[in-house]
Every structure is written in C-alpha cells, then in structure tokens.
Amino acid sequence: MKYEEQPITVITIDELLARTTRFFQDGYRLVQIGCTKVDGKFEINYSFDKDYRFENLRVELQEGGTLPSISAVYFGAFIYENEIHDLYGISVMGMNIDFKGTLYRTTVQYPFSTDTKKEDDSCPGR
C-alpha cells in the first residue's frame, strides 16, 4: 500500500487569508482545521482538497496570539475555529458564527492548552 503525499506549506499569519482565498478560488474544499500545541506554541493546520489532491497550510502562533478567521472565505470554517478557541484558548477574530466559548463547555477551561492530568485513581476497586 502506498501512502499519500501530504505537502505542508508553512506560512505566516499575514499570508493566511490570501492563501486560503486562492485555494477557494482554485476550487479546493476545506477539509479541516486543526491545532497542535508543540513546545509552547501552536501549530494550526489548514487542510484543503481538490480531486483527491491534499494540500496543507500551517500557521504558527505564539501563546496569546490571535488568529484571523477564514470563515468569510469558507463559511464552514467557524466550527473549527470555535473548537480551537474552546480547546486551546486561542482567540479567533471575525468568525461569522461565534459561539463565545460555548461550543464545548468543559470542566477545565481550554483543556489542550494545559496539562489536564486527573489525579491518578487507577485503583480498580473504586
């Protein structure tokens, strides 16, 4: 079985809107937006697809930074951006539908931005 090519282009935040708009105009659909916290900074991946060709943009964001929303380009992006906000605490500017942090109401706020280990109670008796 051969594995798919998955090019990832690292871009700056300023480029983001222009690049996504170009993808949109080229007929790419938004596959997903995902965030990963690596070494104190956030990596945000934007995946696009056209005719099974997979393209990724990656933006790196320092803690406390804000992210521009691409929901004006891709309407459906708001759901990912809200999720990123709720899980990582990244503020996303200009979402078309802003859940204001209520997409996931979690016990721990912004669980993915911190280490949320529960106290270990692995004793099976309980």
């Binding site: 539908i97 802003d98 859940f99 204001k100 942090g101 209520t102």
Partner: protein, 633 residues
C-alpha cells in the same frame, strides 16, 4: 305606546343632558340612571307585549315626517361640511346624490302614500329592543369608566367625552326608532342617523387614521343608504306602500325590488364582503364603540332589516345570491380571523362571519332559517359585547390588545379571563347559544332548496371557527410564570357590567327554550303560518351539558392537593421558574409560545382577494336578477 316613545325619546333627552354636563361624576350618575331606566323599560316592554302579537301604533305622519326630512337634510349638510373639510369627495358625491333622491322622494312622489301604522311592536322587535336596551345601555355604563381610563392612557388626545356620550345615546335612540318603525321612510331616517353616529364615533379620536376609517365606514354606509333611498322611491312610484308589514304580506315583485335594495343596504351595514373593511377599520375607535357597533346596534340594524324582508326573499334568485354573499362572508371572515392576532380584529372578523351566517339565513328565508337567524342575533349580541368589554378591560390593564400578550391571563386577571372564556365558549362551543343556533342553521339549510351548498359552507366555516377561538382560549389559560395581579385596578363599574353580561350569557343559554317558544316561534307563526318545535330531549341534554360545565370546575379543588408540581418538559434543559433557559451560544432565552396564524393560508389579503370579487359578482347577479324581474313587471 308610551313605552315606545319613552325608549325612542328618553335616550335622546339623556344625550342632550350629557352634552351639557361637564363633571365626571354627574355624567357617570346620569349614564347609570338612564341606562337603568332604558333597560328597565325594555324589560317592561317585554312584559307588556310579549304575548300580544303584533301591535301597531298609528302615529300621524304629518309633523314627524317633515321634521325627519329636515333633520335628514341637516345631516346631509353636516356630512357635506365634513366631506369638504377632510376633502373626501366620494362622501360629498354620495351625499349629494342621496339628498337629491330624498328631495325627489319627499316633494315628488311621497304624497301619494300616507302610511298609518308608523310604529309597531312584535316579538322580533321586542327581542331587538331588549338587546339594544339591555346590552346597549350596559355598554354605555361600561364606557363611563373606560373613557376615563382611555384619556388617562392617551393624554395626547382631546377629551371629547361629552360628545362621545351624546352620540352613544343618540345611537340608542336611533336604534330604538329603527326597530319600532313600520314606516320604511322613518326607518330610513333612523338608519341614516346610525350611519352618521357611527361615523362620528369611529372618528372620535380625530387622528388621521381614525378619520380615514370613519370616512370609509361613512362611504360604504352611504352607498347602502343610496340603495335604501332607491327602494323608497320604487315603493312610492309603484304604489307599494311604506308600511313594512303590508309590504311583506304583499310579497311578489313589488316587495322584492325594495327587499333586494334594502338588503343591499343591510349588507353594507352589516359589513359583508365586499364591504367588510369598514367594520375592521372601525376597530380604531375606543372599545365601547366597537362593542356597541358589533353587538347590539349598527351591524344588527343591517341584519334586522334583512330578517324582516326574509319572507320576501325566500326562494328567489336574489335571495340566494344574498345568502351566498352571507355564506362566503362567513367562511372567509372565519378564515381571516385565524390569521389575526389583534384581539379586536379577531372579534371584528368573527362578527362579520356571524353576521354572514345570519345574512345567509335571511337570504334563504325559510322559517327554520329565520329561527336560527334570530337566535344568532341574540346570542351573538350577548357574547360579543361581553368579549369586547373584556378585551377593553384587559387592554387597559396590560396595555395591549394583542392575543399573544394575553398569555396566562388566567393567573394575572382570573376573573376577567374566566368571563372571556365564557364569552368565547358562547361563541363556538356546545351547549352555548351560538352553537345551538348553528345547529338550527344546519337543519334549516338541509331542508331548504339548494341548502346543501350552505351546509357545506357551514361545515367548513364552523371548523375554522373552532380553530381561532380555541387557540385564543389556549393563550388565556396557559399558566405562565407568576406575574403581578393586574386585576385590582379594574373599576367597579366595569366589574358590574362584565359580570352582568357573563351572567346574561349563561342565562340566555338556560332560557333559550323559553326565548324560542315565547318569542321566536310565535313570531314565526305569524309570519309563516307554521313552525316546528325544538325537540325537548335535546334541550334536556344541552342543559345537562351546561350543568356539567358548571359542576366540573369543582374538581379543581381536588387537584390542588397532593400533586407534586414539576417544570414542563424542555428536552432536558434546565429552566428557571420564569421559563428562561440558557440556549446555544450562551444566550439566555425565554420560552415564548406563540399561536399559529397560518397567514400563508388564511391571510387577510389572500382571503379578501377571493372574497371581494366573488361577492361583487354575486351582488351583480342579485341586481341583474332583480332588474330583470323588475323590467318584466
């Protein structure tokens, strides 16, 4: 005789007195005493003439006739003045034509006819007099405190209460005159006074919209008046005579032409399609005016004359056309009522609908149909006045006449709400009056030729009726979060009137077999010569139902104890006691429950688009039919 004169003249005198009085308290007292006297005399009239059949009162036409003509011309001048002042040229044109006709009538042809029996009393008159005397004067009493509040709520409006009460009582005078008159020319005189009074009352606030609507009412009624005048001229020129009873007894084409013309006037007055818009527009007036126009006066004048002419119309093409106008108005107005959320508009359309049913009965004209028609007039008057006055009271307390705002009135204003519920039940539920009348109408229609069409119309129409009343009832009784008790501020006079009307509502239902057998049936017997009686067992069953309805609320006492109270099901969302919950995006939402209005199906515009052309065509056929018959004659 004295009673008649008292009833016609006393309100007039009271009106003059009220025009002079400035003090609120004195005015209240005068209205109260006059109302009591009028009501008492109406009842006395019942006692005096209930069993004596038709009694005629010959009055010399000489001074009266001239006086009426002069007043009539005065009215015409006044309307002309108003027309010029408000630049309403249709009104001017109609008035000029009508005055010309009346001048021609008075000086050209009326000399040949000298009616003797200018006034009369029969059972139908008594019924009408009771409605006017009791319900009309109750509305006047109610108006005293209502108008006080009204001006408190609307400080921007000029306080013209003196004029207001003056016209209200003039209205009563006109109505009494109208139902007692046997001379059609006299009847027409009173008819024109009601037109003018309603014009003035609708325009009471003198706002632009009020003036617009009042002119609409005026113009439509003047159009009807034109037809009425035409009828008078026809009668004078063909020698049909001016006396109502003789005319009806004569029948034939001589009577049919005026019958149709006067029915046309009746159709305008009782706001049938295509003339329904004036009554809806009249809702701009203070609520007692609406109540008066809808329940006991104005519109009832229209159906009154039609019922009078029903025997003439029976079985004729124009008669069927009139019946169809009534039938379709019933159907379409009921449908429109579904799409309205303004309580007064719902009541207005319901009035139009019920009048349509009465008109349909009158157009069919069989004795069963007339039996139904008279019962409809009675029950409608009682329920509608109650409902209007309740809405008026509610409006002043909660500051809105929108049905949606009456949500949970049962907790906020329990007594008024219960009265409203009684009023509404009276409009559409067994065993109350309106339903009995509808039941009678169904039976009347089946046996009438081509009556099947009307049965179908009635079947659909009453289904529509159930919908809009029941959903309104639902709004009243749904128990919302606790709110302040808004009932304390209701004035005692309003209480008195409302309770009295609610009692009357139940009483008429209980007494309906008596009304039927002592008033309606004898009257029908004199007109038609035969009558069938209402089956006794059905009366018993209806009384059982009424009894159950009165007894069952006792069970509420049982349900108050040992029942755990929980919140309504909200799909698992936790809600506060005031029915708020935190919805999506953290928005605090309040559960609001609106009714359905099915506007895309039963919207005002949509239905009017069907109703107006349809009824215009029907009326055209009616005129064509009568014209053909007239020419052949």
């Amino acid at each position: 005789m004295d009673l008649l004169f008292f009833l016609i003249l006393f309100p007039f005198i009271a009106a003059i007195v009220l025009l002079i009085i400035k003090s609120d308290n004195v005015r209240g007292a005068v209205v109260g005493v006059s109302a009591l006297l009028i009501a008492a005399v109406s009842v006395w009239l019942l006692a005096a003439y209930a069993t004596s059949g038709t009694v005629f009162f010959p009055v010399s036409p000489e001074p009266m006739g001239e006086m009426m003509f002069l007043i009539g011309m005065g009215i015409a001048l006044f309307i002309l003045y108003m027309g010029v002042r408000y630049k309403n040229y249709i009104a001017i044109a109609l008035t000029i034509i009508q005055s010309a006709l009346m001048v021609y009538f008075e000086f050209g042809i009326s000399h040949g006819v000298v009616p003797e029996n200018n006034f009369f009393v029969d059972q139908f008159t008594i019924i009408m007099a009771l409605i006017i005397g009791v319900i009309g004067s109750l509305i006047c009493v109610y108006a005293v405190s209502y108008m006080k509040d009204f001006h408190k709520h609307h400080p921007e409006l000029k306080d013209r209460r003196r004029t207001f009460f003056f016209i209200m009582f003039i209205f009563l005078t006109a109505m009494f005159g109208l139902v007692f008159a046997n001379n059609l020319a006299w009847l027409f005189f009173f008819w024109e006074i009601t037109t003018l009074s309603s014009f003035l009352l609708i325009g009471y606030t003198q706002t632009d919209e009020a003036m617009k609507n009042s002119f609409l009412a005026l113009n439509m009624n003047l159009l009807g008046g034109l037809a009425f005048a035409g009828a008078l001229i026809w009668l004078a020129s063909t020698g049909g005579g001016m006396e109502l009873d003789k005319l009806i007894a004569t029948g034939g084409i001589i009577a049919l032409v005026p019958a149709v013309l006067i029915s046309f006037a009746g159709i305008t007055k009782s706001a049938q399609f295509p003339f329904s818009s004036w009554l809806v527009g009249a809702m701009i007036a203070p609520t007692p005016v609406s109540a008066l126009l809808h329940s006991s006066t104005m519109v009832k004048a229209g159906v009154y004359v039609m019922v009078r002419f029903a025997p003439v119309l029976q079985g004729t093409t124009p008669g069927y056309m009139i019946a169809l106008v009534g039938g379709f108005t019933f159907l379409l107005a009921s449908a429109i009522a579904i799409s309205q959320s303004n309580a007064k508009k719902v009541l207005a359309y319901s009035t139009i609908a019920n009048l349509g049913l009465i008109v349909a009965c009158a157009g069919i004209g069989t004795y069963e149909a007339i039996w139904a028609a008279i019962l409809l007039i009675v029950f409608h008057a009682v329920s509608k006045s109650l409902l209007f006055l309740c809405v008026g009271t509610v409006e002043h307390q909660i500051g809105s006449r929108d049905i949606e705002d009456m949500n949970g009135l049962i907790t906020r204003m329990p007594k008024v709400a219960v009265m409203m519920l009684i009023g509404m039940a009276g409009m559409f539920l067994a065993p109350f009056g309106m339903l009995i009348s509808k039941w009678a109408a169904i039976r009347a229609f089946i046996d009438a030729p081509y009556g099947v069409i009307f049965v179908v119309i009635l079947a659909f129409g009453s289904a529509l009726t159930v919908f809009f009343w029941a959903k309104w009832m639902g709004r009243l009784i749904s128990v919302p979060p606790p709110a302040e008790d808004a009932e304390r501020r209701v004035s005692p006079t309003e209480w008195l009137v409302l309770s009295f009307l609610a009692g009357l509502m139940v009483l008429t239902t209980v007494l309906f077999p008596l009304i039927s057998s002592y008033l309606v049936e004898p009257w029908l017997l004199t007109i038609y010569g035969h009558v069938t009686l209402l089956a006794q067992e059905n009366v018993v069953i209806m009384l059982i139902m009424l009894f159950l309805l009165m007894v069952l609320p006792i069970s509420m006492l049982y349900y108050r104890k040992d029942h755990r109270q929980v919140k309504p099901y909200m799909g698992g969302m936790t809600t506060t006691s005031r029915m708020h919950f935190t919805g999506s995006i953290g928005i605090d939402r309040e559960v609001t429950l609106g009714n359905y209005y099915l506007e895309s199906y039963f919207g005002e515009q949509k239905m009017s688009k069907i109703g107006i052309p349809l009824c215009v065509v029907l009326l055209a056929i009616m005129f064509a039919g009568v014209a053909v018959a007239g020419l052949m004659h």
